[in-house]
Symmetry: C2
Subunit: 326 residues, 2 copies
């Protein structure tokens, strides 16, 4: 491995000068600057990141925590987050939650040398806050809260549930099915809460079903087998909405004539023509990840201080073909 000492020797200067060329080029005389740069070129020298971060205490790394990327919502988030970080010159260390042992991913919080931590969509995140606090690394939750103490940027999930309730009321349903996903996901809890509260007065019957995408089929089938089956389905997540569409197609239902379906999240997929899933989501012009990232980098630069507090964005309705016949 070629070190800054090698470069110094070749250029006939001290190692300190090489370091200055890299970090404070304005502090070194033009002729020596050129000499050193030439030596760097010639030796194809690259500074050792470990040594650099050891002394400067800056790693240039952002740690990203999120759920499985085969879930399009998660992938979309990760993509935006990484692109944002890369653009600002950070390297991204990605940690993906294993659904079988969701807590284990948080160990990485304590081992990482990242300068900032971005918490994305995760199944379980409650305990993460403890880890984050003891790590002392600036962090932010994006898209869903980490409980009371998490600094969050994201959709107001309670409002989303409420909005879903208000919107589907216009469809005059008799029975509404709530397709809920993992009940330990705080985000989904909040959505359901908002939904139920807003539905309370209407007196409409509500049926709820929860579970992972993998094992939701059976309970959902049971729900549809009831005599008084839902004529509107609200999915806590677009993915569950898509699952519902898939199921309904298979079982011979017409959407939205027999059963209307509304998702939450307004993922990219939902807007595609072949799906055209109605959904509740953030306004189109709102880039949540960028917002969160700006806050996070501000926290890093201010040494963990400032820019705290959460931002809850009000969602809007995207009406598409699964709730409306044209």
């Amino acid at each position: 491995m070629v070190s800054s000492v090698d470069v110094a020797k070749l250029a006939g200067v001290s190692q300190a000068t090489v370091s200055r060329v890299l970090n404070n080029p304005e502090k070194v005389n033009a002729p020596t600057l050129e000499k050193v740069k030439a030596a760097i070129q010639q030796l194809n020298y690259r500074p050792n990141a470990a040594a650099r971060s050891l002394i400067s205490r800056k790693s240039g790394i952002i740690a990203l925590f999120c759920g499985q990327l085969d879930e399009p919502d998660n992938a979309e988030f990760a993509n935006k987050a990484v692109m944002n970080a890369q653009q600002k010159g950070y390297t991204v260390e990605i940690h993906i939650q294993n659904p079988d042992k969701p807590e284990s991913v948080f160990d990485a919080i304590l081992d990482t040398q990242a300068e900032g931590i971005m918490m994305g969509p995760l199944i379980i995140k409650g305990t993460a806050v403890e880890y984050l606090k003891t790590s002392g690394i600036p962090y932010i939750f994006c898209g869903s809260g980490g409980g009371q103490e998490g600094i969050t940027v994201g959709m107001d999930n309670h409002a989303a549930g409420k909005l879903a309730a208000e919107y589907i009321s216009s469809l005059e349903p008799e029975t509404v099915g709530w397709l809920g996903g993992d009940p330990s996901d705080l985000r989904l809890q909040e959505r359901y809460q908002g939904f139920v509260e807003a539905m309370k007065e209407s007196g409409v019957r509500i049926v709820k079903v929860t579970g992972d995408l993998e094992d939701i089929e059976l309970p959902f089938t049971a729900m549809m087998a009831q005599k008084q089956r839902p004529d509107v389905i609200v999915a806590a997540t677009d993915s569950f909405g898509i699952f519902a569409l898939d199921f309904l197609y298979d079982y011979g239902y017409a959407v939205p004539e027999d059963v209307a379906v509304l998702g939450i999240g307004n993922s990219r997929q939902s807007a595609m023509n072949y799906l055209s899933l109605s959904s509740i989501g953030l306004p189109d012009d709102m880039d949540m990840v960028a917002e969160a990232f700006d806050r996070l980098s501000a926290m890093i630069e201010n040494n963990g201080q400032g820019s705290r507090g959460s931002a809850d964005v009000n969602p809007v309705v995207y009406e598409r073909r699964t709730t409306k016949t044209y």
Copy 2:
């Protein structure tokens, strides 16, 4: 920051002993072992990764290069790769290619301190090999080659094209449309080549259209506007196949009666009921990413030696509703 020296002081031992407790616990006496472990607990000590990797010359990092994660194929790849790496105790550094300046992501190859590099689906990858070589870090291409010199594990793209040709011949098409994607993607070139070679004898008319997913609409529309429009469409990628389905739906075509559609890649999405896109892909029991990762870690452990050479896996046909009426 609490260091191993602090732990040593508290435990009444030397720093060297603390290090031994972490790395060679069998070399330290039971009573001292306990003392040190207790001190570690008490101080909530975590070894500094930078210092550790500076001296051990092992970072425990795998660098992952791939295309945008909003493309489901890419996301699926990234997910598998990360899960594999995490399971083996590696931390994953992810680098996503910006479509606007696809080459720029390769700079990271020279700056990274990763122990191994996994090259996934990328738009352009030809020049990457040069970077990889000068970096001296073990690397592997997964899913598509990096030219002659890349070590690759993946689907035999040429064979996939050929298989696509053989399969659609059974549909007895008059005109076949090839929906090709970015022409600089080597993977897609190979698929097309295999396809054309196998079609040559049949004398069937072939129409080809290329471009990014964003700007494929116009040329595709033009293709469908021709008098002799395709009755079978082969998409170089499932994503393009899905685009085609979306388009055909919009324009009033019946699939597969009016136009049949075949994708390549057999992505997860394609198997969903609402799409049911026929596709060419790897056998179900073949986990390409795991295979690639095994090879990569072998190369890392053998210090860059051994386990070279490529593995081209033969694809199979997944026949679904976009090519077959039941």
